[in-house]
Amino acid sequence: MEYKATREAYGKALCELGKKDSSVVVLDADLSGSTKSKEFKKLFPDRFFNMGIAESNMVGVSAGLALSGLKPYASSFAVFITGRAFEIVRQSVCYQNLHVVLCGSHSGVSVGEDGGSHQAVSDIALMRSLPNMKVIVPSDYNETYMAVLATFDMEGPVYIRTSRAKSPIITNKDKFEFGRADVLKEGKDITVVACGMMVSISLEAAQLLRNSGIDAEVINASSIKPLDEETLVSSVRKTGRVVTVEEHSIIGGLGGAVCELLSKENPVPVERIGLNDVFGESGSKEDLFCKYGFTKEAVAERVKKFLNG
C-alpha cells in the first residue's frame, strides 16, 4: 500500500487549478512549506501572497480578493486558520457567502510532538457551525486532490482539513462530489462512519471485527457538510447502530453531525470515537494514537463493546 500525506495533495491540486484558471490566487501565513501551498508559489509567484504570521488578515484579504472576482485559496495550520481567524471567517467570508477556500493542515493529534497547542481538535465543529460553510475532511491523498479540484466550481466558502502524517491511499475516484458519502465496505451488523485518516483505520478495524464474527459497514463521510443523509440513514436502517470515528473532539464534529441527523430521521444508539472533550499533547503519532484509542485494535474493541453492551 502507498502512503502519502493529504497536505501533499493540496499543493499538487493548487498547481493544477493555477494552470486551469488565472483567477486562482493562493495565500499562506508563513507555513507554505508545511501546508504545501509553496508548490503553487513555485509555478505562479505572481499569484501567491505570503501574508506573514497574520492569519486573521489573510482571511480578510481573501474575502476582498473574492469580492473582486478572484478565487482565493488560503492555508495555515488548522488551529490557526479556524481559530485565530474565526470571527473573520464568519463575518467577511461566510456572512457574504464568498467563494473562499480555506485549508487547515496539521489537524488532529497526528500532528504529534508539537503538542496540544498545535493540534486542532475543534476545527470541524467551528467551521460546521457557520452558515454557508462547507466542510470536507478527505480520507486520503487521492480524495484530497479530487476535493480541492472540485472546490473550483463550488459556490460559497469551503473548509478543507488535511493532515501532516502520511496515511494509506485507499480511494481511487476520478471525481469528488460534495454531499456524497461512500460505502467502502458493506456490512449488516453495525455502521462505522469515519472521516480523514480514520477511514483507513476503520477499514482495518472492520477486518479485525470480521474475525470476531462482526460484519461492519464502513462509510467514508469525507463530506461532513453537506452530509449524505440518504446513504447514512439507509445504512443505519439496515444495521441499527452507529459508531463514528474522527481525529477531533467528540463534540460538534462528525459524531455531532451524525447524531443531529439521526435524532430526527432514525434515532438509534450512537457511539462517538474521538477526543473525549480533552486537548491533545506532545508525543509521537503512534503513542498518541494508542493513548487516545485511534488504533485499529482500539476502534475494533470499542465497536465490540458497544455491540455487546
Binding site: 508563513d30 504570521i53 485565530r84 509521537s284
Partner: protein
Amino acid sequence: MEDFRQLEHIAREIRKDILLMLNRARSGHSGGSLSVVDILVALYFGGILTYDPKNPDWEDRDRVVLSKGHACPAWYAVLSRAGFFERELLWTLRKLGSPLQGHPDARKLPGVDASTGSLGNGITQAVGIALAARVLKKRYKVFCIMGDGELQEGVVWEAFMSAAHYNLSNLIVIIDYNGLQIDGKVMDVMGIAPLKDKLEAFGFRTFEIGGHVYKNLIDTLITAKRNVISPTAIIARTVKGYGVSFMANRAEYHGVPPSDEELKKALEELGNGV
C-alpha cells in the same frame, strides 16, 4: 570592565543541551532556540530576574512569558540549570507524558508562567500579568520574549497599545530580532520595519542592542527594570541558529533538529571538552 566569561560559558552549555534534547526528540525548533539563549541566560544568570526555583509560585517573583513558545528547548535547559527541575527531564522533551511539551505548558512545568505556542498569545497574557500587579499591589516585573516574525500578528499590536495605555512600566518586551521566520527573511515575507519607530510610536521606551553581547543585554535590562514611566521594548539583534556554523542564519533550520552527524559536528564547535 565586568567579566562575562561565566555567562558565556553557561550559554555554551545550554546550547549543547538544546542540541542534545532536539536530537533525542527527533523533532523541534533549532534555529529560534539557539538565537534566544543569551537573552535567557542574561535574565536567569545575569542577576536580572528575581526568582526562587524551590518556590516557583512565589507571589513576588518576576514573571517570564516566552511568547515565541517554539523556542522552549532553550528555556527548559535554562530552567533546569537554574534549579527548577532535574536535568534528566530534559531528555523527555516532546515525548508522551513529559512535562516538557513541544510548546510551554504552564500547568505542567514549574517556572512556566503562561502557556504559549500560538504566536501573539504570550504578549497579551503578559500584559494581563503586568496589569494584575497593579491590582494586587505587587512590585514584580514581567519579561516577555517575542520573535520578530511573531510581530506580524495583529493581536501583538493590540497588546502593545494596551500596555502603553495603562502605563505598564513593569512590562519588558524583548524581541529576538534574528531577521528570519519559517518561509524566509522577515523583510521578504512581511516586513516589519521601521520597528524601532513603530514601537516608540506605540508608547514603548525602546532600545536596540546586540542580542549576543552580555554587556549590552545586562546594562539594558537593568535600565529597563528601573523604568517607571512606560513599558520597555528591547530589540535584541540576534542570529538564528547562533553558535552552530551550519545552522547560523539559515531559515531551513527553523523547525529541524540536528541529525546524529550534525549533532556531533555542532558539539565539537561548541567545545566538547567539558
